[in-house]
C-alpha cells in the first residue's frame, strides 16, 4: 500500500533529512492548501493526506511519517479516537492537532490522547511550519 496516495512533489527541493509529514482533515480544500503550502517548506516532506479514517490509518501505518498534522473536529466524531490509535502505534509519529477553534475540554482530551501540541488554524503558515518541524522527537 505504500505510496498509493502519495502526492508527488518536487523532491529535488527537499533536504535529505526533511521530516515526513502526513495531513488529516475532512475538508478537501484545506488539505490541498496545506499540502501545497507546507510542501514548500524545506524541512518538511508531505508524504500523504486524507480525510477518511480507514484510509488515513492504512496510509500512516505504511508510510511511517515522522509527524501527523490533524484536525480533531470531525463530522464522524472520530478525531480523538484517531489520535489515540496513532499514539498507540509502534514508533508513533509526533502528533500536531490543528483546529478551527479552541475548547478547553477538547485541548485537554487531545493532550491526554497523545497530542504533542494543540494549534489553531490561523493563516500564518511560517509559524505553523516552525512549530511542527521543531516538535521534540518523543522517546
Amino acid at each position: 500500500m505504500v505510496g498509493t496516495n502519495i502526492l508527488s512533489i518536487e523532491r529535488s527541493q527537499q533536504f535529505v533529512n526533511a521530516a515526513k509529514l502526513y495531513i488529516i482533515d475532512e475538508h478537501p480544500g484545506v488539505r490541498a492548501a496545506l499540502v501545497e503550502r507546507l510542501g514548500r517548506a524545506a524541512n518538511l516532506t508531505v508524504i500523504g493526506h486524507g480525510g477518511d479514517v480507514d484510509t488515513v490509518m492504512t496510509e500512516i501505518r505504511g508510510g511511517k511519517p515522522d509527524i501527523v498534522l490533524l484536525e480533531v473536529k470531525r463530522k464522524d466524531g472520530m478525531g480523538l479516537e484517531i489520535l489515540r490509535q496513532l499514539a498507540a502505534l509502534p514508533r508513533a509519529p509526533r502528533l500536531a492537532v490543528l483546529t478551527s477553534y479552541p475548547t478547553s475540554w477538547e485541548e485537554q482530551a487531545a493532550i491526554r490522547a497523545g497530542a504533542d501540541c494543540y494549534l489553531l488554524k490561523d493563516i500564518d503558515s511560517e509559524e505553523l511550519i516552525k512549530t511542527i518541524a521543531n516538535l521534540p522527537i518523543s522517546a
Partner: protein, 573 residues
C-alpha cells in the same frame, strides 16, 4: 318513669332510718362513681377515688396505694394529713404488715385498733397515731390495681360492715375508672405514635415528589434537611455530597442552631471521620460520646452543648451519593424502628439528590450539544474555507514576492482580513458558552445585544429592565434569557420587517418574572409559525421549558409579534 326494679329494696328487717341511711349512702356512692369517670387522667382518677372513699366512710384519714410488681408500692397518695405531718413521717409504707396481707389475699381488712392486729408491723417513726382501719383492695379481673386505706372513723370506734361494703363497691367502680384512664393514656400514646407515623409518611411522600420534580439541588437539600431535622427533633443538621471526583464528600448545606459547621474541614475522604465512615459502610452511625469520638469535630460544637451526632448515608442504586448528619443536644438513643426510618430517609434523599444531579447534567449536555452543533457548522462551513483560501493566498504571495512586491502587499492585507474573520467566528463560538452570563451581567449583556441589533438592523429598540426583577431570578437562567432574547431579535431581523422593537424584563406577579420581546413588524399566521420560525422558535421554547418557565408567541399578519417568557422567580424575603 321509675319502675320497681330500679328502686332499692328496703332491708327485710330494717327500720325506716336504716333504709334512709342506705339510700343516702347509695346516692353518695352513685355521685362519687360518676365523678370518677369525669376525669380521664390516671392521677385525677386516683385523687377522686380517695376523696370519695373518705367521704363515704366518714374517715379522718384516707390513702391510696398502687402496687409495683415487686411486692411494694409504686404510688402512695394520702388525704387528711397536713403537709408538715407528712414531712415528719420517716418513710412511705413499704407494703409489709396489713398492706402486704391485703396484697397476698386480695381481701379487705377491717379492725378497730391497727396495732392490735397480729400482722401489724406498726407505723413508721413520726407517723401520727391512728386507730381504726379499713383496707379495701381495688382489682380488675383478679389483677390487683391498688388499695384504699381508711383510718380513724369519725364519730365511731370502728368502721362498720356497711362501710366496708360501700367502699368495696366504690373500689369496683374505681377499678373500672383506673382501667379506663390507663386505656385512655394508651390511646393518647397511640395517637402520638400515629401522628409520628403520619409525619414519617409525609416526609417519605415529600421525598418521593421531590424525586420526580426538577427542583434546584440547593433548594431540594434545604427542604429535605429541614423536614428530617423536624421529624427527629434535631438541633442541627448537615448534608455532605459526593464530589464528581470519586471518594470525596464535600459539605453542601448546614442548618440549625449549631456553629457554622460541625467540623474543622469541609471535605472528607472515604473512611475519614464520621462522614467518611458512614459513606464507606453505607449504614447509619451514631455517637453519644462526642468527646472521645470526635475526629475533626469543632470544639465549639461540644461547647454549645451537643451530645449526640448521627450520620446517615444518602444512597442511590450502587453508590453513596452523600451523608446526612443530625446533631442533638440530648443523649439521643436511636430506636430500632427509627433505624429503619433513617435508612428509608437516606434512600429517599439519595435518589432525589441523584435525580437533581442527573437533571442538571442533562441540561448542561443539552446546552453543550447545541453549542457544539453551531460550532461544528461554523467550523465546517466557514473557518475551513477561509483557512484554505488564506493558505492559498500565502502560497501566492511567496510566488509573487520577488516579481511584484505591491501585489504581495495587497495579498498580505487580504490574509489579515481573513485572519480577522476567523477570530471573529471563534469568539462567536466561544460566546455561545452560556455559563459566562450571570444575573449581574444580564442587564449589561442585553444592553450590548440591543445596541448591536440597532446598529446592524437600524430597527429602533427600547430596552426596559426592572433591576428588582432581575435580582429575583435564579442565577443559572440568566444565560438562557439572554439567548432567548438573542434568538427573538435574530428572528425579527430575518423575518419581521419591523421598524421598532421593545424588550422588557419585569416582575408581573408574585413569583413570576416576565421577559417580552415585541416588534411592530408584519407578523404571521399562527398556524404557519413552525415552518416560518423553524428551529429558532423551538430552541427558545426548549430553553424556557428547561428552567421551568413557559414561552408564548402571539402574532397575526400586519400586527407584529409578541414573544412572552414567564419565569418562576424567587420569593421576596
Amino acid at each position: 318513669m321509675v319502675t320497681r326494679e330500679n328502686q332499692i329494696k328496703p332491708p327485710a328487717t330494717g327500720d325506716a332510718k336504716a333504709y334512709s341511711d342506705l339510700r343516702s349512702d347509695m346516692v353518695a356512692l352513685h355521685r362519687a362513681t360518676l365523678s370518677l369517670f369525669s376525669d380521664l387522667s390516671l392521677e385525677g382518677v386516683l385523687r377522686r377515688v380517695i376523696h370519695a372513699a373518705r367521704e363515704l366512710s366518714d374517715a379522718r384519714y384516707a390513702a391510696l396505694g398502687i402496687p409495683d410488681n415487686e411486692g411494694g408500692l409504686e404510688t402512695f397518695i394520702t388525704l387528711g394529713l397536713a403537709r408538715d405531718e407528712i414531712d415528719h413521717i420517716d418513710h412511705q409504707p413499704r407494703g409489709d404488715g396489713l398492706i402486704g396481707e391485703m396484697m397476698r389475699t386480695g381481701q379487705s381488712i377491717r379492725v378497730p385498733e391497727i396495732n392490735d392486729h397480729p400482722l401489724s408491723v406498726g407505723f413508721p417513726a413520726g407517723h401520727p397515731p391512728m386507730r381504726s382501719f379499713l383496707g379495701v383492695p381495688i382489682a380488675a379481673y383478679g389483677r390487683p390495681l391498688g388499695q384504699i386505706y381508711l383510718t380513724d372513723k369519725l364519730n365511731a370506734d370502728e368502721f362498720s360492715l356497711e362501710d366496708q361494703r360501700l367502699i368495696e363497691m366504690l373500689a369496683a367502680h374505681a377499678a373500672a375508672a383506673i382501667e379506663n384512664a390507663r386505656l385512655y393514656q394508651k390511646v393518647l400514646e397511640n395517637e402520638n405514635e400515629l401522628s409520628d407515623r403520619n409525619e414519617e409518611l409525609g416526609l417519605m411522600y415529600s421525598l418521593a415528589t421531590a424525586v420526580s420534580s426538577a427542583m434546584d439541588l440547593d433548594k431540594l437539600l434545604e427542604v429535605m434537611l429541614q423536614r428530617v431535622m423536624k421529624l427527629f427533633h434535631a438541633g442541627a443538621g448537615e448534608i455532605f455530597l459526593l464530589e464528581e471526583q470519586e471518594g470525596v464528600y464535600q459539605k453542601a448545606i448546614h442548618l440549625g442552631d449549631a456553629p457554622q459547621s460541625f467540623w474543622d474541614v469541609d471535605r472528607f475522604r472515604l473512611g475519614e471521620g464520621l462522614i467518611g465512615m458512614v459513606a464507606q459502610e453505607a449504614s447509619p452511625r451514631w455517637t453519644t460520646d462526642l468527646n472521645s469520638d470526635s475526629d475533626y469535630l469543632r470544639k465549639s460544637v461540644l461547647q454549645s452543648g451537643f451530645k449526640t451526632l448521627v450520620g446517615v448515608p444518602l444512597t442511590a442504586p450502587g453508590k453513596v451519593t452523600g451523608v446526612l448528619t443530625l446533631a442533638f443536644r440530648t443523649e439521643r438513643v436511636i430506636q430500632e424502628q427509627e433505624q429503619g426510618l433513617l435508612g428509608a430517609v437516606g434512600a429517599g434523599v439519595g435518589i432525589a439528590v441523584e435525580n437533581a444531579r442527573l437533571y442538571r447534567q442533562a441540561r448542561r449536555v443539552a446546552v453543550l450539544e447545541e453549542r457544539e452543533r453551531i460550532g461544528m457548522d461554523l467550523h465546517d462551513g466557514v473557518i475551513q474555507s477561509i483557512f484554505a483560501t488564506g493558505l492559498t493566498l500565502e502560497y501566492a504571495r511567496l510566488d509573487v514576492q520577488e516579481r511584484a512586491p505591491e501585489a504581495a502587499d495587497r495579498i498580505g492585507k487580504a490574509i489579515s482580513g481573513l485572519n480577522k474573520s476567523i477570530r471573529d467566528i471563534r469568539s462567536y463560538i466561544l460566546d455561545l458558552q452560556p455559563s459566562r452570563i450571570s444575573t449581574d451581567d444580564l442587564p449589561k449583556a442585553l444592553e450590548r445585544l440591543t445596541r448591536e441589533f440597532k446598529a446592524n438592523t437600524l430597527i429602533e429598540t427600547d430596552l426596559m429592565i426592572e433591576p428588582e426583577a432581575v435580582r429575583r431570578l435564579n442565577g443559572s437562567i440568566a444565560a438562557d434569557l439572554f439567548h432567548i432574547s438573542q434568538e427573538a431579535l435574530a428572528n425579527i431581523a430575518k423575518h419581521a420587517k419591523a421598524t421598532r422593537t421593545w424588550i422588557t424584563v419585569r416582575e408581573t406577579s408574585e413569583g413570576t418574572v416576565t421577559l417580552q420581546v415585541i416588534d411592530n413588524g408584519q407578523g404571521f399566521e399562527m398556524e404557519s409559525a413552525p415552518e416560518l420560525l423553524g428551529h429558532g422558535l423551538s430552541n427558545m421554547g426548549e430553553r424556557a421549558r428547561l428552567f421551568g418557565g413557559e414561552l408564548a408567541v402571539v402574532s397575526s399578519p400586519g400586527e407584529g409579534t409578541t414573544i412572552t417568557v414567564r419565569i418562576p422567580s424567587e420569593p421576596v424575603n
